[in-house]
């Protein structure tokens, strides 16, 4: 196909257009949205994005796949220079918030009671914080007595953690997790040191 010079030229033009779109959008654009705006199809979009990525290989910028779409971003190696220009960004998530959002991400939609059963502590404050930071959102109510609110994670959650899809989260095979847990308990004290450090912060 790419032997045809006009097709190659078209792909290059499409890459240029997509470059512009990603630049101005400032938020992830799905292949579908890109195809619609450029009046092509998703296959052509994927080809063009690959072309774009190759071209950006030497650049300070990159095209990342994030929160169900493509987005232009700076490369991590230039982070310190960029951080210098920009005002300090929002605080990182606290350990309680991290734990809570993790539980919700894997069990969504889930209730406050479920979160609290796993964490063993009251979690209403954390849920409020996560909602305010748009990491989680109320997703209806469970049809059980008391009709408790169900929570699920947002696209902003995906974006915040640089995930493309929920399926990018590490797979939670029960047995595997048990194995990991044993490993964590017996072999990896260092990891726990990190955890304690995080908790002490």
């Amino acid at each position: 196909m790419t032997d045809n010079p006009s097709v190659a030229a078209n792909a290059a033009t499409l890459a240029g257009i997509i470059e512009c779109l990603l630049f101005v959008a400032g938020e992830p654009l799905t292949a579908k949205e890109l195809a619609k705006t450029t009046e092509t199809d998703e296959v052509a979009v994927h080809v063009a994005v690959r072309l774009l990525r190759d071209r950006y290989a030497e650049s300070g910028l990159q095209v990342v796949e994030i929160a169900r779409g493509y987005q232009m971003a700076t490369r991590p190696e230039f982070a310190s220079a960029v951080a210098k220009l920009l005002a300090p960004h929002a605080n990182r998530l606290s350990r309680p918030a991290l734990e809570t959002v993790t539980i919700i991400a894997y069990r969504q939609p889930c209730t406050q009671a479920e979160v609290e059963a796993i964490r063993g502590v009251a979690s209403d404050g954390v849920l409020k914080t996560l909602t305010e930071r748009e990491m989680i959102v109320e997703a209806g109510r469970r049809q059980t007595p008391g009709r408790p609110i169900l929570y699920s994670t947002t696209d902003h959650f995906l974006h915040y953690f640089g995930l493309s899809e929920l399926s990018d989260l590490p797979l939670l095979d029960e047995d595997e997790m048990e194995a990991r847990e044993i490993a964590a308990a017996n072999d990896d004290a260092a990891a726990h040191t990190a955890l304690v450090a995080a908790g002490v912060e």
């Binding site: 400032g26 991290l98 953690f161 590490p170 308990a185 990891a191 040191t193």
Partner: protein
């Protein structure tokens, strides 16, 4: 493999103590540095810490040791703040209950089941539920740790704001000497209403009032004209307490109407400073016909009447 670095509390944990050795909680580990409970997310977090630090086998939990260590940590706190430690105390009770049940005779094992070899969980074990909870919580803690790394990675990547959002908000200017936006007036009204302590309910009586918008407009224009070049302060126009809410609302509407028609200008020299209203003489006004002001006013009054 020896641990690279051990958390402070763990260093003092007597891992040489054989599991199950009786230890009175009234003689806590002397060398134990006080554990700060707030460093732990909750009782499960503390338990997981003890299990890991003590290198305990989670599938054959030495419950007596764990229970003693746990209670020792609570004791080390001295006076316990119930609001903080309530959950920790509940867990202590649970541990004690499990410990006591373990003292009871164990029913004979079903040897036909080859899986019951200690590496997997016996659900008849009194420890089973606790172990399940620890496993589950530990599992999410491990993933949360992974997400934390992702968060750090992601923080090194920067995006740009959407184009339109930038145009809308990127160049906000501080208030200047000159005409204010309707929003500023609205905010002023809100401030005034707040200081009066009025709720929305009181505003429902609009139609009953004898004061009309046109009356208020005339009043404001009159005062502004009297004041001349220096303009009149808004605080002068605000009715003195006690007053009907409608008067404040009408003052606000009158100002908006007069501004719209170009009859007055509103200015504020400093942020949150005094707001002055200047009368604009006819010849300086925009080409807004006098009739337009009248008809506009009447329109509003008609709308009120129809309500």
């Amino acid at each position: 493999m020896p641990p690279a670095a051990v958390p402070d509390a763990a260093t003092a944990l007597p891992s040489s103590v054989p599991p199950g050795k009786k230890r009175s909680s009234s003689e806590p580990f002397a060398a134990l540095p006080p554990l700060r409970l707030h460093a732990f997310e909750g009782p499960l977090d503390l338990l997981l810490h003890l299990v890991r630090a003590g290198r305990m086998d989670i599938f054959d939990l030495p419950i007596a040791t764990l229970c003693d260590q746990y209670i020792a940590h609570l004791d080390a706190l001295g006076s316990v703040d119930l609001s903080v430690a309530g959950e920790f105390l509940v867990m202590a009770a649970t541990l004690l209950e499990i410990k006591s049940r373990l003292l009871l005779p164990v029913p004979p094992r079903d040897d036909a089941d080859p899986d019951q070899d200690g590496s997997s969980l016996d659900l008849t074990d009194p420890r089973a539920e606790l172990v399940q909870r620890l496993l589950e919580y530990g599992k999410y803690q491990a993933i949360a740790e992974g997400l934390k790394l992702r968060e750090a990675d992601r923080k090194n990547v920067f995006f740009r704001d959407p184009m339109d959002a930038r145009l809308a908000s990127g160049f906000a200017l501080p208030p200047k000497f000159g005409e204010l936006s309707a929003d500023d007036l609205l905010r002023t009204l809100e401030r005034m209403l707040a200081s009066v302590g009025a709720g929305e309910k009181a505003i429902t009586s609009v139609r009953r009032q004898k004061i009309t918008l046109r009356m208020k407009m005339r009043e404001v224009a009159f005062h502004a004209r009297q004041a001349g070049q220096d303009g009149v302060s808004l605080s002068v126009l605000v009715p003195n307490a006690p007053f009907a809410l409608i008067e404040v609302v009408l003052l606000f509407l009158a100002l908006l109407e007069l501004l719209k028609s170009g009859s007055v200008l509103v200015a504020q020299k400093a942020f949150c400073g005094d707001i002055r209203i200047f009368f604009v003489p006819e010849f300086e006004r925009a080409m807004v016909a006098e009739g337009e002001i009248e008809s506009g006013t009447e329109g509003i009054e008609e709308a009120e009447a129809e309500d």
